[in-house]
């Protein structure tokens, strides 16, 4: 009985801390404006949608990796998958969960787009440095 109580309580806190942790990772990029190029290539104008994430991740895979954002992207990818699963499993019980999960998935997509923007800028800088050499 005690173990069951601890299990339920710890699962609830785990979920809460995980959501907040992922949000804290994404918070820094929420006010970062996307460059015109990234807006064109991703199709995101001002606000991302839940469905954009997968496409942006595919574009990120085409771009050379950056150590700085690799772990953050992995955490946000897990968060996105978790949101998708939550939406599929519980949205029919709690309908408001669908709109909440979609909003969160859109934030994940925007975060990935900002990471793409940073990767492109970083690679440009590297190329420019190589040209100078």
């Amino acid at each position: 009985m005690m173990a069951a109580l601890i299990f339920v309580f710890s699962l609830v806190t785990l979920w809460m801390f995980f959501v907040s942790y992922c949000r804290s990772l994404m918070a820094s990029s929420s006010r970062h404006p996307l460059s015109a190029e990234v807006r064109d290539v991703t199709g995101i104008r001002t606000v991302a949608s839940a469905g954009d994430f997968r496409r942006v991740m595919q574009l990120l895979q085409l771009c050379p990796d950056r150590l700085e954002d690799r772990n953050q992207l992995q955490a946000v990818s897990i968060y996105h998958s978790f949101l998708a699963a939550t939406r599929q499993m519980f949205a029919w019980i709690v309908p408001s969960l669908r709109s909440w999960a979609e909003h969160e998935q859109a934030s994940c997509a925007y975060f990935a787009a900002v990471a793409l923007d940073r990767r492109i800028a970083h690679n440009r800088e590297m190329l420019a440095q190589q040209d100078n050499l």
Partner: protein, 231 residues
């Protein structure tokens, strides 16, 4: 002897623990996060000690068992102190340092008293049982304290990104640990579940190191954006 997966997790965990110390030294924040560093240095020392006892006496020896449980209690105590130091960070501006310290001492004594009451009936290996019980209870108290601390962060509108992320990582660690421990009580020692705690032990120093590397003490965020259900 532990298998190759256990050894890899051990090595990774120790590397991440040392990387946090190096990161805080490089970013000149070692003293600011002194108790987190102390906990991780103690954890590294314990890992080396455990490896020594394991290779010298074997996994089922009394020496290894005693070292394991006593060092685990010491580590839990160090983590408790590290958590209290985070309380001091959050409540520092309210000049509530003394209240936090006294509260922590009372809570520790209360937990020790509760653990004593639980094991007082057992006569064989009383001290080992007490140490084990205290360690488990302190973990659960740690989870509740982290939850309260997170509430305080939101209430006091703490904006320092480093402090916020360190607390969130700790919350994830404690919740994951408590969940896997409870799951182990349900389902016996399934091979996958027994890896969860050591993997969580790697996650904590890794996420702390990344926080120190990525953000400066001046980095700020809006904590209201982090709550699960916006108010």
């Amino acid at each position: 002897m532990p298998g190759p997966i256990d050894l890899i997790i051990w090595l990774l965990g120790t590397a991440f623990e040392l990387s946090f110390v190096v990161c805080t030294l490089a970013r000149k924040s070692f003293l600011r996060y002194f108790f987190l560093n102390l906990y991780l240095l103690l954890s590294t020392t314990t890992t080396i000690g455990r490896f020594f006892f394991l290779s010298s006496y074997g996994q089922s020896s009394d020496q290894y068992m005693y070292f394991y449980y006593y060092s685990d209690a010491l580590l839990t105590l160090a983590l408790f102190v590290a958590l209290i130091s985070l309380y001091s960070h959050v409540f520092g501006e309210l000049r509530a340092g003394d209240y936090v310290r006294w509260g922590a001492v009372l809570l520790l004594l209360g937990t020790a008293g509760f653990s004593y009451a639980v094991v007082v009936q057992s006569t064989a290996r009383f001290s080992t049982r007490f140490v084990y019980e205290l360690s488990q209870n302190l973990y659960f108290v740690g989870l509740v304290l982290t939850y309260i601390l997170w509430g305080a962060v939101l209430k006091l509108r703490e904006t320092r990104t480093r402090v916020v992320q360190i607390i969130l990582s700790l919350g994830l660690y404690f919740s994951g640990y408590a969940a896997s421990y409870a799951l182990m009580n349900f389902s016996g020692k399934f091979s996958i579940i027994r890896y969860i705690c050591p993997v969580l032990g790697c996650f904590l120093p890794l996420s702390w190191s990344l926080t120190i590397l990525r953000y400066t003490d001046e980095s700020r965020l809006v904590p209201a954006r982090l709550v699960v259900v916006p108010r």
